[in-house]
């Protein structure tokens, strides 16, 4: 009987794939050998040390050294008062825009997250799916879509009978940044609300608190870490965005737009251009880093006003009429300001599909040759930076999750977050300065290094968070059962975190694919333009027709979606 059950189980069990079969001799030997090696402390330390070394040598130090080595060039711009004033104004605008975007997005997105989590209606599920759309569309494509929706006669302006309802400039940049930062806050807050134990709120209600009072005095203070995290993410996203902002900025400029324009500026002496780039990049990098650490340290000390309760006002504000109004307004903002501008590109794209532009694109005639070349470079850079990040990011995630550096682990973790909190074009400028001095390095490699730097944090942080969620005891028990460190990683840690690994990889890939700022700063020759840079140039280029612009953006979006879909299916099949 036992033998029969064993046979059935051996035949059916998934363990077959987990532990290599005896027949698969060479593979088994290799895994055994690697398992043995992983037990040696020296090998373990070597793996961890190499991942830490990689972080310092390729991620953290190159931009710092790049800037510090060239800091003396800053003096040149100090003798150019007009340029200096313009640079300072652009830097101030960067932080000003990021601050109002993060604040208003939080105010607008929190009610939608609430609606998604707490509503029992089917619409909430549909909204939950739709909220990711602006996040998945590459920002350069989103920029063009927003421009067409708000700023061109065929968009919403047609309803009002005007040429451009929102002309290029501050307001259009605001609407653009609002729409691409909005999903970040909704996603983080939905996660926080799902993890939140509603029992606290229920207890408050049974003690006589109005729904609004319970939310204000109990729920929001408990959600404070999530609120701070989503504020910082939206702040960073607004501060860093370059390509789409350039498309809609008009005369207005912030730090990244100014850097973008300086790189393209014809007639500006090279030494002055270099001085401007170093000046603006260094201020953006150091100010944003200091600001982020200050907000991270000081924001938790901020207290929600919970001591005072206003029963009659809060009772009125908790009425179902007010809640319906709030939900309606929230959905209106989401549909009108976030979703519609993101999807508007579909209309001109459909036109481009039937007017013959698609045929030209597919055969690569005219400007389409350089479009497909840029796509190839973008996908190659995206794939390679994902692979490099997985190889070197996994051990770094273990170092963080399992506190391998002891008391120094939080410092290592904080340093790892730096690449996502500084504007990517400033990071690109500093990386160009560092890697550019190695003349033997091909431009492609510098492009790869810069994309790896910008995306590194996404992978390491998502993997570290996933590993931290696995109780250490599970790994400890596996080791007492005879499993070597590599076996534990293969059979326990990885299967339990594989969804996060794929998510992290997808994040890295999409971020690398959509990156404009760093790519612009690094790729100096047209041959190495990635798709986002090409699109920004095409949108500004009078020779490219409207159909060509729409189709190029549409193809870029569609191919990104196909890759994401393929990765998602792959993840599901392997689950």
């Amino acid at each position: 009987m036992i033998k029969y059950i064993c046979d059935v189980i051996i035949r059916e069990t998934r363990m077959k794939s987990v532990f290599p079969s005896r027949n698969n001799g060479s593979m088994r030997k290799l895994i055994r050998k690697l398992d043995e090696l992983s037990s040696r402390d020296s090998i373990k330390y070597l793996v961890y040390a190499s991942s830490i070394l990689f972080f310092f040598a390729f991620i953290l130090l190159p931009p710092i050294i790049g800037i510090l080595e060239n800091i003396s060039q800053v003096e040149t711009i100090l003798h150019e008062p007009n340029l200096l004033a313009r640079a300072n104004a652009a830097i101030i605008q960067s932080f000003f825009m990021a601050f109002i975007i993060a604040t208003l997005d939080l105010v607008a997105a929190l009610p939608l997250a609430w609606f998604i989590v707490r509503s029992r209606i089917e619409l909430a599920h549909i909204i939950d799916t739709m909220v990711d759309i602006p996040f998945l569309i590459p920002t350069a494509a989103l920029g063009y879509s927003t421009l067409l929706f708000w700023g061109r006669p065929d968009g919403i302006s047609r309803i009002f009978g005007v040429e451009s309802l929102v002309p290029e400039g501050f307001l259009l940049v605001f609407l653009l940044h609002f729409s691409f930062s909005y999903p970040v806050i909704v996603r983080v807050m939905v996660g926080e609300l799902l993890n939140y134990k509603e029992v606290y709120e229920i207890a408050a209600r049974t003690l006589g608190a109005q729904p609004l009072t319970a939310v204000r005095t109990i729920t929001l203070p408990l959600l404070k870490p999530g609120i701070i995290a989503s504020f910082l993410l939206a702040f960073a996203r607004s501060l860093s965005e370059t390509g789409a902002t350039v498309m809609v900025a008009g005369q207005w400029e912030n730090g990244p737009v100014f850097l973008f324009r300086v790189i393209d500026m014809v007639g500006l002496p090279e030494h002055l251009k270099s001085s401007v780039l170093v000046y603006v990049s260094s201020i953006l990098i150091f100010t944003s880093t200091i600001l982020f650490f200050l907000i991270s340290l000081l924001a938790p000390k901020f207290r929600f006003p919970i001591r005072r309760v206003f029963p009659s006002i809060e009772r009125r504000l908790s009425s179902s009429k007010i809640i319906r109004f709030r939900n309606g307004l929230t959905l209106l903002v989401f549909l009108l300001v976030v979703l519609s501008p993101s999807l508007f590109i579909a209309l001109p794209m459909i036109g481009a599909l039937i007017d013959g532009t698609l045929g030209e694109a597919l055969v690569g005639s005219g400007p389409w040759g350089e479009f497909w070349r840029s796509m190839t470079i973008s996908y190659a850079i995206g794939s390679l930076s994902t692979i490099v990040n997985i190889i070197f990011g996994l051990p770094a995630a273990i170092v963080i999750a399992r506190r391998k550096l002891g008391g120094a682990t939080p410092i290592f973790k904080a340093l790892i977050s730096i690449p996502i909190i500084v504007p990517s074009i400033a990071l690109g400028v500093s990386l160009r300065l560092f890697w550019g001095r190695y003349y033997f390095l091909h431009e492609f490699w510098i492009l790869l290094f810069s994309h790896t730097t910008i995306t590194y944090t996404y992978f390491v942080e998502s993997m570290a968070a996933a590993m931290e969620s696995i109780p250490l005891e599970i790994e400890e028990v596996a080791s007492t059962l005879g499993a070597k460190p590599l076996t534990i990683f293969r059979e326990i840690t990885l299967p339990l975190t594989k969804y996060s690994m794929f998510s992290g990889a997808v994040l890295v890939f999409t971020r690398a694919l959509g990156e404009t700022g760093a790519a612009k700063a690094v790729a100096r020759t047209k041959e190495f333009w990635t798709t986002p840079i090409l699109l920004v140039n095409w949108i500004k280029d009078g020779k490219i027709t409207g159909s060509q612009k729409a189709l190029s953006v549409g193809l870029y979006i569609i191919l990104s979606f196909i890759i994401l879909l393929a990765l998602r299916l792959l993840t599901r099949r392997r689950k």
């Binding site: 363990m15 077959k16 599970i474 007492t480």
Partner: protein, 370 residues
């Protein structure tokens, strides 16, 4: 030769010393219960033996071999943590087969052994289920089966019954001991439940602040506690403070509060010494009236609390000198029960009293179990 031996082992976590200079021997096939309050170092002791943490100083021997630097996978121990750490992504059979497969068994052998273990723990019928589909008791048995299937000779159980309800806990503790004994395993069972330790252990080790307070067979630890802490932690006890008034060749007279005199059989005391007298709750006799008023160790008082515990009735009595004592008396049918406020006498037989020097940090501090 003892199977496991710890010699002067110390383990620190930052400024906190979890285990202090601890020495302990465990024999082959022995079932040991490590008993102690939260934070006493019980789990650290298990982790040291399992190799999950390394000692800062001292030596650990398994089968005569120094294992300080031997990784967990080579120690041949099965560690079962409090919440079992079952692998959530593996089925029941995969969980059990993980150990044998990791130790290099062929798949056929591994699954055969695993099925035998599941048969033994009555889980074979749930072989293809996942851990979250099992009840608490089943999960506990699965954790045990997984530990046993790895072929370990040493079983380390960290509060193995802590996550179960009271009735299941009582039922499973006997099975646990039975399985360990049947498989001739050396078992170290960590618990803070003294009743559980009494029932299953061959030997009890009482741990406090990383140090062994006492070790020995359950009856010895219960009846002859070496310290006030052990007396308090293992079983219910009363503590009366006093001074030694007189010492003779048969015992001593202890002066309690307000002039009450207590006779004890301890002759090794010094007149004037400050002491604490301990008496187990079940050794405190409560009677309605004294037969002979001149009888020694008979103290008047009044009942202040009564609790019916099913097989026992617990009384709290405030003596006329202000001291409080608790008594547990069998709840025998027909036996008269006392009511709150009723005047009674408390009889304390000298042979049931143990005397300890007054602790330097005070009695209250000594009785702390946190």
């Amino acid at each position: 030769m003892p199977l496991i031996e710890l010699v002067n082992v110390t383990k620190r976590y930052g400024n906190v010393t979890a285990i202090k200079n601890l020495s302990l021997k465990m024999n082959d096939g022995e079932y040991i219960c490590v008993l102690g309050p939260t934070g006493s170092g019980k789990t650290t002791l298990l982790k040291l033996i399992a190799g999950i943490v390394k000692p800062d100083s001292g030596e650990i021997y398994i089968d005569g071999r120094l294992v300080n630097d031997v990784p967990p996978q080579e120690r041949n121990v099965a560690y079962v943590p409090q919440y079992y750490a079952l692998f959530p992504h593996m089925s029941v059979i995969d969980n059990v087969a993980f150990g044998p497969l990791s130790r290099g068994f062929s798949r056929e052998e591994a699954y055969k052994v695993s099925m035998q273990m599941l048969e033994m723990t009555k889980l074979a019928w749930r072989a293809n289920s996942f851990p979250h589909e099992l009840s608490g008791g089943m999960q506990q048995r699965l954790a045990l089966a997984r530990g046993l299937a790895s072929g370990a000779k040493i079983l380390l159980l960290d509060e193995p019954l802590g996550a179960l309800d009271a009735r299941l806990r009582v039922e499973l503790r006997y099975k646990l001991r039975g399985i360990a004994k049947k498989n001739k395993l050396t078992t170290i069972h960590v618990t803070h439940d003294q009743e559980e330790a009494m029932v299953v252990a061959d030997r009890i080790v009482v741990l406090r602040n990383g140090e062994i307070q006492q070790e020995g067979p359950p009856s010895q630890v219960y009846n002859e506690p070496k310290s006030i802490f052990v007396a308090h932690f293992v079983g219910g006890a009363n503590f009366l403070e006093g001074f030694v008034a007189e010492v003779d060749q048969y015992g001593s007279w202890i002066q309690l509060r307000n002039g009450f005199l207590l006779r004890v059989n301890d002759v090794n005391r010094v007149v004037g010494e400050r002491i604490v007298v301990m008496v187990r709750e079940e050794k405190v006799e409560v009677i309605k009236g004294a037969r002979r008023r001149e009888e020694i160790n008979l103290f008047p008082g009044a009942v202040s609390e009564v609790s019916f515990l099913g097989d026992f009735v617990s009384y709290s009595i405030t003596l006329d000198n202000g001291d409080k004592v608790s008594s547990r008396m069998p709840s025998v049918f027909g036996l008269k029960r006392f009511g709150i406020g009723e005047r009674v006498y408390v009889r304390l037989k000298p042979e049931n009293l143990r005397v300890y020097p007054y602790p330097p940090q005070g009695l209250y501090k000594e009785l702390e179990v946190i």
